[in-house]
Symmetry: C2
Subunit: 457 residues, 2 copies
């Protein structure tokens, strides 16, 4: 009796009800629209309905969150990060890119152990969940530890084990084995990539082998390319090809690919990418570009060519945080600035890139990045009642130009609460911070000559 009663109850009872919230929606052309006073119903980790709010006593849900005037948005997506680098933040300031790599990043990274990466990934996930980021495309080392951290945190991630050509084909095979081992794990929250580091650290055969692994496994490729114009110039000088042309010649562009940065993409590269635009995305991490003086990705030209753009942070040694609100704001502001035209990158376009665009960029456009029936219940509740939003004449303007990470109150992934009213539910923040602090002195050491790679594009 008891069991059948429970089953009968389950048939009519929703797993999760978000009652009477306002919702940011995107239509089929990615145009944002606002719907007020809605109920969001979630079952089995998916959104089942978004409809005009009904009196609370007419709803039956195992768990209810009261909207209380908050805005429900799709969870933010970080399309390019090296999350565990949070362990090194603040250690490489005010230095040019060659010294940044050769004197700081690659020597510092030689200190990292698998255990460090585990704590670093957890710390970065704390930071991102607290800022409303529910999905991250991470590109780093010791990725089994990273994957376990994602599993524990309850977040969503598209993970690639970064490989340098200098590490050899065995390491590439191991990275491919990682991609095979973890894809679809953690209730489907983990997807994987093949992640060769960059054309300037992987030779053509290595890139071809990486592409072959990706095709064999049916996964995409996440790679740095044409990060800044100096790399493009060096590639042209050395071999007469741009980094993007190298990607084409090595077959990297033949399947889904997420290119990080692309500040050195030339007009000819844009024309080349136009032919692959259906499965090519570029991750845009503007704070890093400003901080390292790298120039900017030619976003308008790439978008005109049909290339998908997503927002990222890059690692916290350049960014120096993992705050996608800041990436969103900087993207819009900088496009206006570079064009000296305030009409460029209007609110609707910025929002479309941040949400459905970024979802497509990480290969999850059919699952996340918009709130709609059938999509994963990856959503955040944002409080726009703060003085810095008031009076709230324009919600879309406030989302782009005013919203702070701390306005995010509640974070849900796959229908599961990761943060509620700013209280983390899956991770032990104090323990994670303490562990990260414990290793500070060791992590900050730089031993002359000891570095994982040499920057010489």
């Amino acid at each position: 009796m008891r069991a059948s009663f429970k089953n009968a109850q389950r048939e009519t009872m929703t797993d999760l009800l978000i009652h009477n919230c306002h919702v940011l929606l995107f239509d089929a052309e990615d145009r944002p629209t606002l719907a007020r006073n809605q109920d969001i119903l979630v079952d089995g980790g998916r959104i089942t309905a978004i409809e005009r709010s009904r009196p609370f006593d007419e709803r039956q849900a195992a768990e209810t969150i009261h909207g209380d005037g908050q805005w429900a948005l799709p969870g933010l997506i970080n399309c390019h990060a090296h999350v565990p680098m949070v362990l090194l933040r603040g250690l490489a300031e005010d230095v040019p890119i060659d010294r940044w790599f050769n004197e700081f990043i690659w020597p510092l990274e030689s200190n990292l152990t698998a255990e460090d990466v585990s704590w670093g990934m957890l710390l970065g996930l704390v930071e991102m969940i607290e800022a409303g980021v529910t999905t991250v495309a991470d590109h780093y080392f010791f990725m089994d530890e990273a994957a376990r951290a994602v599993q524990e945190a309850g977040a969503r991630a598209a993970l690639g084990w970064a490989v340098f050509g200098s590490q050899g084909y065995e390491q590439l095979d191991a990275a491919a084995a990682f991609a095979e081992r973890w894809r679809g794990q953690a209730e489907g929250r983990i997807t994987t990539w093949i992640a060769p580091h960059a054309p300037y650290t992987c030779d053509d055969d290595f890139l071809r082998a990486a592409a072959a692994h990706a095709r064999r496994l049916g996964v995409g490729i996440h790679i740095h390319a044409a990060e800044e114009m100096g790399q493009t110039e060096a590639s042209l000088a050395k071999r007469g090809l741009t980094p993007i042309q190298v990607l084409e010649q090595t077959g990297i562009l033949d399947g889904p690919v997420l290119i990080a940065h692309g500040c050195g993409i030339l007009p000819r590269d844009v024309e080349l990418l136009r032919r692959y635009a259906g499965h090519v995305a570029v991750a845009h991490c503007p704070k890093t570009y400003l901080k390292l003086g790298m120039g900017l990705t030619p976003l308008q030209a790439l978008r005109e060519a049909g290339v998908t753009i997503g927002l990222g942070t890059d690692g916290a040694v350049s960014n120096n945080t993992l705050d996608i609100w800041e990436s969103l704001r900087l993207m819009a502001l900088l496009q206006k600035h570079e064009a000296r035209n305030p009409e460029v990158m209007p609110l609707a376009e910025a929002l479309a890139i941040a949400w459905p665009g970024s979802a497509r960029a990480v290969g999850l456009g059919d699952r996340v990045g918009r709130l709609a029936p059938g999509y994963c219940a990856d959503l955040i509740l944002v409080d726009l009642s703060g003085a810095h939003h008031q009076p709230l004449h324009s919600v879309t303007s406030s989302l782009v130009y005013n919203t702070r990470a701390t306005d995010v109150q509640t974070v849900i992934v796959n229908g599961r609460l990761l943060m509620r009213d700013r209280r983390l539910l899956t991770l032990d923040r104090a323990e994670i911070v303490a562990q990260a602090r414990n290793s500070m002195e060791r992590l900050a050491q730089r031993v002359p000559g000891r570095q994982i790679q040499v920057y010489q594009p």
Copy 2:
């Protein structure tokens, strides 16, 4: 007996003790240094000592704040704002500067009443206090209301009543009377300026009359000039002089002057300003410049010429917030970006501009912008324990690139607590927000042909 006992007690008892905090100090050359585990003693609204922390039971203070690992910094200074424009935020998005003025700002401002300005000023002060801004140089209308709001909030402000030439000399006289009436009021927290709007809205005689008022009263001038290159080009085309040359010819540069924006300052203007550099400052509001596509102030050239630079936000219809942390971060990032050189604007320089530089810019360099005995006790306590700062390898880096307005916990002006542990103590936030919301519909109306001024530089 009782009275003499109390007097005896007062002789040894400090008004306010901030016990065992870490402190950001600036030396005589504005170089930042960090001092850990300090006690800050405050008497009569001034800092009397900053010294190595002693056990709490050895201190006697009427009021104690426990540092608890927080960082004490001078209060932030907003060197250029139109604070009550918070009432209109979000109402003028994605439009070029001529339409921004003629179709949005000046029509919208025709809706503003003295009562609106009062609530708008209070709302903006809530936002700024919550973000750690203790001083603001405000440039607006109905400034008696603004001054009363500052008085009530307990903040510090340098106030100028904005005047257009079209309003006539009577209005200029009234603005000068305001400057005379309010300077030194609110326990010395209010200073005043003469505030002609700009060379393109005030003719030369009007500017001369404004300068004469400033000299007569012994106050400075706060004025917009060369806001963007189009204004400079228009001025050159119309009369063969740059806006900065107009300031010189009309005597504006003969005394202390705070120039807002200056994105249209030419190299020849820099040379001209070099001659007045001892008393000329430029307020830099980078978020506005990006959003309106105005270009950037030539900061490096101005600093090389000895001109003081301060950070501002401008009004919230362009910014769209009043967050000086964001101005600080954008200034540093954009200087690196424009120069394509990450070594430009290192941490120490950014901090020196944000604090002692901004204090000088608003004419208060002898009172605020640094924590030292004899300076006003205008200080904030910032919590750097958040995940987005961890592990805290570099405090100065975190202050420039990671700190959020919400990291500010406690705000003190003239030794008085305005916010403690993020609870506002002088202003009724709920009432102020409710009042601002009440007028939203009326404030958002634009009546064709009804505007306070025409933009035609």
